[in-house]
Amino acid sequence: MLNMFTHARRMAGRALVGAAALALAGGGVASAQETIKVGVLHSLSGTMAISETTLKDTVLFMVQEQNAAGGVLGKKLEAVVVDPASNWPLFAEKARELIAKEKVAVVFGCWTSVSRKSVLPVFKELNSILFYPVQYEGEESERNVFYTGAAPNQQAIPAVDYLMENEGVQRWVLAGTDYVYPRTTNKILEAYLKSKGVKSEDIMINYTPFGHSDWQTIVADIKKFGSAGKKTAVVSTINGDANVPFYKELGNQGIKATDIPVVAFSVGEEELAGIDTKPLVGHLAAWNYFQSVDVPENAAFIKKWQAFTKNDKRVTNDPMEATVIGFNMWVKAVEKAGTTDADKVIDALIGVTVPNLSGGFSAMMPNHHITKPVLIGEIKEDGQFDIVEQTPGLIVAEEWSPYLEGSKDLIADWRKPLSCGNFNVKTGKCGGAGQ
């Protein structure tokens, strides 16, 4: 209990110092020294550190760049980094700390859906802003959250379309880790495939636990499923750690991309850096950005990023791009609103358009999701992707999937007067609590 008092005492001390400083400066002038705090809520230890550490670096990089360009509203930005340690309740605690104690203006953070779900009530309660940079299952639109990753229709459906049209795939294996993103994505894909005339017996769905490492049986099953005479592909929503052994087993059992291609939604440049990619050449991934995108903006970004990390082999990936877009959007919205006040920035964000790194522009839509191009890439020997297809235009996120029973009548629009994340067009009511 003692430590509680020291804690309180130290906080008291800090408050006193602050008050004294304010009194000395005679008010107003102190703002020259003031910074705008930016919270970074990514796991630096534990199982998710593998993915999230890069995003922490990305935010730090963007903060440095922005400060070099003069900061925001004439103030410098200051990144406040915390480590929620891949522990979901700790995410909520740290979010509260960032907002209530550190008084950050915005938070960039979370990777897994569960971490986002965990911090959501905190952001709503304390009315702050979270930028969430990872592709996810959708079925959510919150006033305090801006989703710069892909919704299922911005990643999964174009990938399936590509395989159907270009590879003539008729049989589908939907393999995923057993959690909500693969479950939802596969539900959507199943409904989508059936709407395209694929029969039930031509769809095989398989779920595995987190970190599954023994893929012998499942890969053999896939091989069997694929030997029925029809062209077969695997749509993989396998998560992080389980991918390496999965791909290694594919290589071992001699499944080549020309026989049974695998299209993945969670495997990017960062993940490939840890795999011997030679046996994987030709397998696919669908993202909204690849490091190999051949446009000057991207080249410039990669150069600066590698200089920042002092590592000329450091790769970039899709969630990084989403973080960059989110960051730029926030800066633009703050400048537009002239303040970091959450309510005003939230309103200002809708409609903000910034360049993305694939040579186009992304806009924040009223559903708090952004428009994105969809890119399909084939894995190359060097661990990069060969972009084999790019959607001609930008795709608007369907945060509520029309392929799911529960959400087909829902839309989100955070502009006034609707201001609702789950408006039911059939009943004409804002479904849930919706502010």
Binding site: A12, V82, D83, E93, K101, K117, V122, D178
Partner: protein, 387 residues
């Protein structure tokens, strides 16, 4: 010789000095924190921000959890590496109640089905969700779910005399199996995401400062009562048998006690305490998900107890608060990348230099200073060398 008088020497106090100090500190915190949070303006030097309240509330539930571990580890010698499972089950029972309270305010507006069931196309509520819309039922389940698991598991394990590391490993296997099971979306507990986005509890907004304070005070009360209960148990004849089992189980059996029944009772009580801790934890933290079942979590609980002092009760609670405060402190700011070094270093240092934990070491020191005095409030029995 007055034999009667002799046999009555030293009626052991229910609490003892450290127990009384502990309860007083707890009471002061339980009163002071809400007062400083509500009655003092935020810019005051002594104001306790809500952020600190929910943090302290969380620590208190962890302290109760640590207490439950100390009861069986410190006094019966059962090193459960699955205590997190009971905590999580209590939490899930409370979480299910809170989910049902959301009602039509869920994003899909379904009056019965929680959101995660709607978007996975579930048509009706699974049978095991029935009744959780009623608080008394949920509260009963907070006790029964962990209690029953402990009863069944303990009945098998203790009856067949699984002891020592074997017991530890199978408790770990138990929580690991539950972890995998709760991860499965088909189980109907929300899979990896677990249960979250709660709205209110017993009609009170769960995010309101008032509710938070009440939960905080309740946690303090639960911890206090839990402490008194544990003290009462370990002081009783029953408790003495527990310690005897820890030190010489065979002797206990040859003395005519059915050791497995004693262990079972302690195990079930401990599981229920952990369940209560979980139930108080969930509304304050706002989420319950399968990661609470992870074996690493359960090991961490053991570490809290070891740091504070095994077999001292007060030490367990203190250890939980200290380690978690360290975690909160080190996971922010410039230390964030290095906090695992500190935490790891702490565990190594404690085992090497404070093998009896903080409170245990303090008792030793005090005993040395007053070699012939009685030791009121000393541990009922400090654990002997670990098996």
């Amino acid at each position: 010789m007055n034999t009667k008088g002799l046999a009555m020497t030293r009626p052991p106090a229910l609490l003892g000095t450290s127990g009384i100090v502990f309860l007083i500190v707890l009471a002061v915190v339980a009163v002071l924190v809400p007062v400083l949070n509500l009655a003092v303006t935020p810019d005051s030097a002594v104001h306790v921000p809500t952020y600190v309240v929910s943090l302290l509330g969380k620590y208190l539930t962890y302290a109760l959890l640590a207490l439950s571990v100390d009861l069986i580890w410190g006094y019966v010698g059962i090193l459960s590496l699955g205590q997190g499972a009971f905590f999580a089950l209590g939490g899930y029972a409370m979480g299910m109640y809170l989910m049902r309270q959301i009602g039509t305010r869920g994003v899909y507006g379904d009056p019965v089905l929680p959101d995660f069931m709607v978007f996975l196309n579930w048509k009706e509520l699974p049978w095991f969700w029935y009744g959780f819309d009623m608080f008394p039922f949920a509260a009963l389940m907070v006790l029964l779910a962990p209690g029953l698991l402990a009863l069944v598991f303990g009945w098998f394990a203790f009856r067949s005399r699984v002891t020592g590391v074997y017991l530890s490993i199978i408790t770990q296997a138990m929580t690991f199996a539950l972890l995998l099971a709760f991860f499965r979306n088909d189980m109907g507990f929300g899979g990896n995401n677990g249960l979250t986005d709660f709205k209110d509890i017993l009609g009170f907004n769960i995010q309101a400062d008032g509710t938070r304070l009440v939960l905080f005070v309740l946690s303090a009360v639960a911890l206090g009562l839990g402490y008194v209960l544990c003290r009462f148990l370990v002081r009783s004849h029953f408790g003495k048998v527990l310690v005897a089992i820890r030190d010489a189980e065979t002797r206990v059996r040859f003395t005519g006690y059915r050791a497995e029944n004693y262990k079972l009772v302690a195990f079930v009580v401990s599981a229920m305490l952990a369940g209560i801790a979980g139930a108080l934890y969930v509304p304050q933290v706002g989420i319950i998900n399968p990661s609470e079942f992870s074996p690493a979590n359960s090991i961490e609980i053991i570490v809290w107890v070891a740091v504070g002092g095994r077999g001292t009760l007060v030490g367990a609670a203190l250890g939980a608060v200290l380690v978690n405060y360290a975690k909160t402190y080190f996971t922010s700011g410039i230390l964030a990348p290095y906090w695992l070094f500190m935490l790891g270093g702490l565990f190594v240092a404690v085992t090497l230099f404070l093998p009896k934990g903080i409170v245990g070491t303090y008792y030793d020191w005090r005993e040395k200073r007053r070699p012939h005095d009685d030791i009121p409030g000393a541990p009922i029995a400090a654990p002997g060398p670990a098996e």
